[in-house]
Amino acid sequence: MPPGAGPFKGGFPAAPRGKSPAPRARGRGFPSAFRPPRPCHVMLPRQPARGGGRRAVARGGAAAGGGPWRGRSGAREASSLATAVAPGPRVSSMASAPTSKYNSHSLENESIKRTSRDGVNWDLSEAVPRLPGETRITDKEVIYICPFNGPIKGRVYITNYRLYLRSLETSALTFSIKARSSWQKTSYTESHDSALILDVPLGVISRIEKMGGATSRGENSYGLDITCKDMRNLRFALKQEGHSRRDMFEILTRYAFPLAHSLPIFAFLNEEKFNVDGWTVYNPVEEYRRQGLPNHHWRITFINKCYELCDTYPALLVVPYRASDDDLRRVATFRSRNRIPVLSWIHPENKTVIVRCSQPLVGMSGKRNKDDEKYLDVIRETNRQISKLTIYDARPNVNAVANKATGGGYESDDAYHNAELFFLDIHNIHVMRESLKKVKDIVYPNVEESHWLSSLESTHWLEHIKLVLTGAIQVADRVSSGKSSVLVHCSDGWDRTAQLTSLAMLMLDSFYRSIEGFEILVQKEWISFGHKFASRIGHGDKNHADADRSPIFLQFIDCVWQMSKQFPTAFEFNERFLITILDHLYSCRFGTFLYNCESAREKQKVTERTVSLWSLINSNKDKFKNPFYTKEINRVLYPVASMRHLELWVNYYIRWNPRIKQQQPNPVEQRYVELLALRDEYIQRLEELQLASSAKLPDPSTSPAGPSQMMPHVRTHF
């Protein structure tokens, strides 16, 4: 590596935090000039995107350099970045925001501090973080009824993207918040004024209710109660006079549920620019090529190019080489919603495959379809190592039988001689929704105290997680050790099937454990194969009681989190990555999760008109990296799916409770990142010195500890 090629080229950015107010003594023991640069990669002010290479990303009216978002001060730039990386709806008082203990976050902090310090003099519209394309609608004085600190007077700002509240009584603001957060988290005490801030994307809102009527008396009993999709409720008390509640209710309803008011979802108005285009992350042809496809047994077909074969499948499918397009069409008639068995993943060595589809249309009469039977046999034959094809029906046995009444069913033994069928006992979307509701009951606003574990047990949430994981482990094990091809389906093949295939692929293929690999996995198995995000989440839709809503994708992410807990070095991404994905599952800021299937997305030109969530993440990857990640090829992960080893994801489900908040960022990770940076710095320094000394000493072999000797030793571990 030539000098200057390392991550800290050109010396250490002359202390980007040069006048950092951080009080802690550090860098003891070596000259101040060599103070370890704090992991500054995170928040360095970015050059505005200019030039051809990035043009491709630039869309919309804002020409590079001339847009409304250009030409602002560096601080603004940084602050927009800061909101970009921590956009999630979050309640935080200043003191509980990541303190400046870690310099990598102090920039973010500073921008907020500046906001609050100068807040009074600022134009009000400037006091609220705003995305390009975001417009302010109104603001109102309200009392926020904080379930943890009691009523807090504040001003709420509503834009077409978010609800933003800042408390007014900064000085009087609840000593307890300040004190508590400093007790709970770190020993650090903040001396500046702190204001409580609530930053909630409107997309997160599931329901808005009026509480109290004209006659209600008690204090703060008249106002709005907002139910959110992310495990919390917000209550605002308003004055009874002057229609202030009616106004706020109408505005919120309008912008939180734009579909009901023929307004566009915010993602279509968002004019954010990133230097990476997330829409290019997933290219099906490339992904199948990575898997070694097409090959002798499998071909890529464009039969669904115009979504004629199956309107909820992607345009590009991988099917057995020996099955003709006509065969596929005939099979489609026998599978629910024409979702025929297609390849999801192929084992690189033993060439067994994971195939996904929907249930066969057997019905009460026990119909059979020769083409379907033959097709499954063809799939079985692509792998010559075993005589049977394994079919996993994700449902409980009884549900599968019950589905016959509505024309569905499962593959019977007599019709499919060469297949073994197993039921995985995973319950349907309604059961999962009710289970999560119970979880919310025990964690929000107050955590169930006396019988925490048995209450948790009675929600059955972890039990469902366990069943999903167990199913995925079986699929992975059958493919990897059993050397048998596997076909997975549930009823329609877009909920439980997606969970099982994607988790099994995550266990089998280490590629999906990288940041981009995981994005591809989500993009492929969930988005392109028609998990009904719009119906399950209800983006912009006011019908909060819709029976189609269900936290299936959240459950999948929870399973991934459980795996990452058990294998802390196996995943390139960290917990924040997962939480960010979940936050934007609801936020409607990005187009990634909008609509139910690829055909609908194409119709709406989502990739042209909206920004991808992966643009945000990939342009700021360091923030989402797990420092402990050790790249491994071909290691199959089998998590322990036992109740003894599953945990409730406290940092997600109970994150609104200030008492439960954990130290963020995780101090151990932080420390590790610092060590990594130190190591890089030393390596680089060593190289520089060696160069310098070898210039003086003609014989480089005399240099006692050249990088050539040191580095291999160090590098072996990483």
Binding site: R28, E449, W452, R644, V668, R679, L686, A705
Partner: protein
């Protein structure tokens, strides 16, 4: 031959149950010799790892199962332990005990023999073993599990022998009234000149040094208990207020349970002191002077005193013991608890509940910083270092006379209760919540947890400092003092007095000891908190001599310090000082202080760790309690980031050390 083919019934050879079969009896020696000649050389090879006085009772070749990879080796039963010796593994002289392969006999909680589908529990001698075991499972009381499968092919008799030998050795060891420590000597160490790894607090110098370190200026080291005649359970030295005379101390202590009067535990640099003492002796009838002495000791120059009754809200000994037993039963690999009922079963053990209440109490106390405690919270930044923590355990648990022997049930007394293990669990919870604040790692806590069951050193083997001293023959230098029982101390089988549990290298290899360090610990993390910060608000003078009782998360003013002065009948009614104040479910940390207003609302001092104790924050220590489970045994044990972190830290240190400063220091500035 008294053994036969598979499937027949056997009874234990009669001579084995003979009670007079002493540990060093000639018969056992003979028995060892009875083994086939081909095993002789093997036997002598095995014996090389023996401790002085240790005898091999039986052995059999076998394969250790469960953990990956499967290890061929030999299962050996001696008069002090069961050990599995892998083929080719040589016990190093420096680590005569192995944390991995050794099971002290007292630690064996359950023994199972397996043949085909039948599985028998064996612990009582005399229970017939009806088959030749193919495999035996040894469940440790410390949650460890050893699974050994015996080789087939003519060696079954040995499998049978070793199994029965374990059963009997275990029975003998539990019968022994006082467990004799494993005699140890460290090679190459002349006893006497050796400096213990941490101050054992057995000399007054140690106490003086420690006092100065804490900056407790108004306190002094009292020698009143030098002969253990004030209290046998107290250390020979402790700290009392400077102005209190030794005679007053003696007087005052007499009115406390077992003579455990109030003494300084820890001095906060802000000026507050943490005191601990036993309960008031209810039957005593102190006179005025005594009361004054007690009062002045409790007050120790402060105007405000808060009493905390730890009996209140904390589990009783019986509770703790029951919870621990239940937890152990639940964590057995074949526990009958249904998978879907695991969480409520875990709740049913109440272990986590007790952990929670201890943490909660300790967190309240650390807010108050003037009281007495049973389990001290680690609010001292220094105590969070490896060394500091060991000193803390030595001072507050070992020197302060925690009856380890009784509590851990070695004596079989009824007061068995693993309070110390509860404490270790509490510390683990703190470590979980504040992973960067502790220098020691989970592995260290695990080692500490396990060492409570390993009878190798005196640290955890005696109930009181007095007994420890007696055993180690320390009184030789004080021979003019009459010490009851000293003369009966059997010479020869005492553990090496010079060794304590802190000599980790007895049982752990240097690589393992390296893992005791928490790589996430950032010593620069809390430099501020190390500096004494004046906390003037703590010093705000209140109404003179106000006394408060802290109970159930609330402070109640007390108009008297001692329960006797005006109404001795109060105590006759209840052991509590006062009727309970209103129950408040919120703890102190949640209220707007709950402190008397004149104390002022001062910000909490930096460096104070207040643990969260909400249900979801208290976790099960899986790596400890679930060690015996098949998923852990089967090596699907969740990986840990610790080793790579350690490597990273070492690599960085190496760079820092060799790479830069030595080789290239001059041109650095360039």
């Amino acid at each position: 031959m008294w053994w036969g083919g598979r499937g027949q019934s056997f009874n234990i050879a009669p001579q084995k149950v003979e009670p007079d079969l002493g540990l060093s009896g000639p018969k056992s020696v003979q028995r060892t010799g009875m083994l086939e000649p081909r095993s002789c050389q093997l036997s002598s090879h095995l014996a090389s790892g023996c401790l002085p006085g240790e005898q091999i009772l039986a052995w059999a070749p076998g394969v250790r199962k469960g953990l990956e990879p499967e290890l061929p080796g030999t299962l050996i039963c001696t008069n002090v332990r069961v050990t599995f010796q892998p083929c080719g593994w040589q016990r190093s002289q420096e680590t005569p005990l192995s944390s991995e392969y050794d099971f002290a006999l007292v630690n064996i909680g359950r023994l199972e023999a397996v043949n085909g589908l039948s599985r028998v529990q064996l612990l009582r001698p005399g229970s017939p073993l009806k088959f030749i075991p193919e495999e035996i499972l040894i469940h440790g009381r410390d949650f460890r599990l050893l699974r050994v499968a015996f080789e087939a092919g003519g060696l079954e008799p040995q499998a049978f022998q070793v199994t029965m030998a374990i059963v009997q050795a275990r029975a003998r060891s539990s019968q022994a009234q006082q467990y004799a420590g494993i005699p140890l000597s460290k090679a190459g160490q002349s006893s006497g000149s050796r400096k213990p790894p941490i101050p054992l607090l057995e000399t007054s110098e140690d106490w003086e040094t420690e006092r100065k370190k804490q900056g407790a200026k108004s306190w002094r080291v009292s020698t009143v208990n030098e002969r253990f005649d004030v209290a046998t359970s107290l250390p020979r030295y402790f700290w009392v207020p400077k102005r209190t005379l030794d005679s007053e101390v003696r007087r005052a202590f007499g009115h406390f349970h077992q003579g455990r009067g109030p003494r300084l535990s820890w001095h906060h640099r802000g000026g507050s002191d943490l005191l601990r003492c036993g309960g008031f002796y209810t039957a005593s009838d102190p006179n005025k002077e005594d009361i004054r002495a007690v009062e002045s000791m409790l007050q120790a120059g402060h105007s405000d005193v808060v009493l905390v009754d730890t009996v209140d809200e904390l589990p009783t000994l019986a509770d703790v013991q029951l919870a621990h037993l239940k937890l152990r039963a639940l964590c057995l690999p074949d526990s009958s608890a249904a998978e879907e009922k695991w969480l409520s079963a875990l709740e049913g053990t109440r272990w986590l509940d007790y952990v929670r209440s201890c943490l909660r109490k300790a967190s309240d106390i650390s807010v108050l910083v003037t009281s007495r405690v049973r389990s001290i919270v680690l609010q001292v930044p220094e105590a969070r270092t490896l060394l500091g923590f060991q000193s803390l355990v030595q001072r507050e648990w070992v020197a302060a006379g925690h009856p380890f022997l009784t509590r851990l049930g070695v004596t079989g007394a009824s007061e068995e209760a693993p309070v110390f293990l509860l404490f270790v669990d509490c510390v683990w919870q703190l470590l979980q919540q504040f992973p960067a604040e502790f220098e020691f790692s989970e592995f260290f806590l695990l080692a500490l947890h396990d060492s409570a069951r390993v009878p190798d050193t005196l640290t955890f083997l005696r109930d009181t400092p007095w007994e420890r001293g007696k055993q180690s023959g320390q009184f030789n230098s004080y021979t003019q003092i009459y010490t009851p029982g000293y003369s009966q101390t059997p010479a020869g089988n005492s553990a090496n007095p010079q060794l304590s549990v802190w000599d980790w290298d007895l049982r752990y290899s240097s690589e393992q000891i390296l893992q005791f360090h928490n790589p996430g610990y950032d010593p620069e993390h809390c430099p501020d908190s190390l500096l004494p910060r004046q906390q003037p608000s703590f010093m705000v003078p209140g109404p003179p001599n106000s006394v408060w009782l802290f109970s159930r998360g609330a402070l109640t003013p007390l108009n008297q310090l001692c329960p006797w002065r005006d109404s001795p009948s109060l105590l006759a009614v209840s052991s509590r000082w006062l009727p309970r104040p209103a129950i408040s479910s919120e703890s102190l940390a949640d209220q707007e202080w709950g402190l008397p207003s004149h104390w002022g609302a001062c910000p909490l001092p930096p460096g104070l760790l207040l643990p969260g104790y909400l249900g979801p924050q208290i976790k099960l220590w899986r790596r400890c309690y679930l060690r015996g489970r098949p998923e852990f045994q089967g090596n699907s044990i969740p990986l840990d980031t610790q080793p790579i972190s350690c490597e990273m830290r070492d690599a960085v240190h190496q760079f820092k050390g060799d790479g830069l400063q030595n080789s290239f220091s001059p041109p650095l500035a360039a």
